[in-house]
Subunit: 225 residues, 2 copies
DNA sequence: TTTAAAATGATAGTAACACTATCATAAAAA
DNA sequence: TTTTTATGATAGTGTTACTATCATTTTAAA
């Protein structure tokens, strides 16, 4: 027996739900591996098809194009982090402790199991770090946004902002702080790995606790009275 | 007579310096307009060539590909902001005032003239807001970084971090705060325009002073003792 | 168990994109 | 005036991002 998590995502993101079939799960699993390996720009449906022993045409039956697949994956991550935060803060009453758990989840999400068998959460996190912003930096943002493609991020931001407001009701920027903690987490892990002169923290392999410490410091300071 | 600013950029970014010829300047000028208009993904050298009455081949004599052109433009922006900060803080001794000027420059850079005739700084700022992160979110970051393609950003971050350390010498994250103020500025202008539920500020046309107020609040709070 | 329906595979094809090469012509410098 | 350099014109190649069609396999219904 295994715990089965089913992540519910906006139906507009796919043509056919990839969670419903072997091929679909293969697409998710190996697109994560391939994007992580080659980067989003060099990733193609053809390569993916070859890797999983299928064809381009078959993949196009699930996703309109690779950009929607990226949005799908990033949404998955947002939902996954939200889920982790929810179960880990369930019995916590102190909002300050909740925020610490949230920050921990932003930074360490991939480490906390249980996950979904065909999703490598750690590599998915890498993708979010390296390619995530491309999901919403498009000329079609507004159209995609109106279809609800970023609702998972908004829900996450909303949840975090609620905790922030609980800590400090008079704080004027709960949403901005929420998204900023998330973006900073990804950004500074990326900077530490590739552009270290743009940050003060360093990351050794998977040890990202300096990032966590920094985010906690920022949050505490901003919410202090 | 006009004031001539010449921005010096890493030579590896171009094959032939576009600032040296009419065609080169045309490429810069109209690539900014076209990327702003169509977005980076839909922007092609062919479209650019048609727009300026030249040919693809000629454009390829200046830039290896459109990704390097983007890095070129983003570097231009970083240099331009650095330049503005430098002249506007020249006679300012109070570091806190300097930081305010820096934040103002991040948010309002395009408004402050004089500029370069063939560069629309306002639209260049739009590009940095919408596409800027793509400059360094590539599989080739490390290679490009080793060629110095992001040095302008590092210099800017370094300059800002110096001011931050002047304000608060014991503050542990001067570089992170510096880059975060810059990224937050761009991010929240973008969010306000396209994903308003991810922020608390709003932007009306060119009125971005709510963003400025927020950044000042964050900086002040983080650097308070 | 047979039959129908749905999913996948195999193959082919198209338009656009990202280039590279070659040669002619125009402009600038020597 | 000659020579160099910059640009234009044209053509061509491989890849990407799809779409279409039909055969085959798998699954579900009768």
């Amino acid at each position: 027996m295994s715990i089965q998590i089913r992540i519910t995502l906006n139906e507009g993101l796919y043509l056919k739900d990839p969670q419903d079939s072997k091929l679909g799960k293969n697409i998710i699993q190996h697109s994560i591996l391939l994007i992580d390996e080659f980067g989003f720009e060099s990733f193609t449906f053809k390569k993916l098809a070859e890797r999983i022993g299928s064809t381009e045409a078959s993949i196009y039956r699930y996703f309109e194009n690779k950009h929607l697949l990226l949005i799908f994956l990033v949404n998955w991550y947002w939902e996954w982090v939200s889920y982790l935060i929810e179960i880990n803060t369930m019995n916590v009453s102190d909002a300050r402790v909740k925020l610490k758990i949230i920050i921990h989840s932003f930074v360490f999400a991939p480490k906390d199991n249980p996950g979904v068998e065909y999703v490598n959460e750690s590599k998915l996190h890498n993708i979010v770090i390296s390619e995530g912003v491309k999901a919403y930096h498009t000329k079609d943002v507004d159209k995609e946004n109106s279809k609800g493609f970023f609702r998972s991020y908004k829900n996450l931001a909303n949840m975090v902002s609620t905790v922030i407001s609980e800590i400090s009701p008079q704080f004027k920027y709960p949403y901005a702080l929420a998204t900023n903690l998330f973006e900073m987490s990804n950004n500074h892990i990326y900077f530490a790995n590739h552009l270290p002169r743009l940050t003060d923290v360093s990351v050794n392999g998977n040890k990202v606790d300096e990032v966590e410490t920094m985010l906690n410091y920022f949050a505490d300071k901003l919410l202090s009275s």
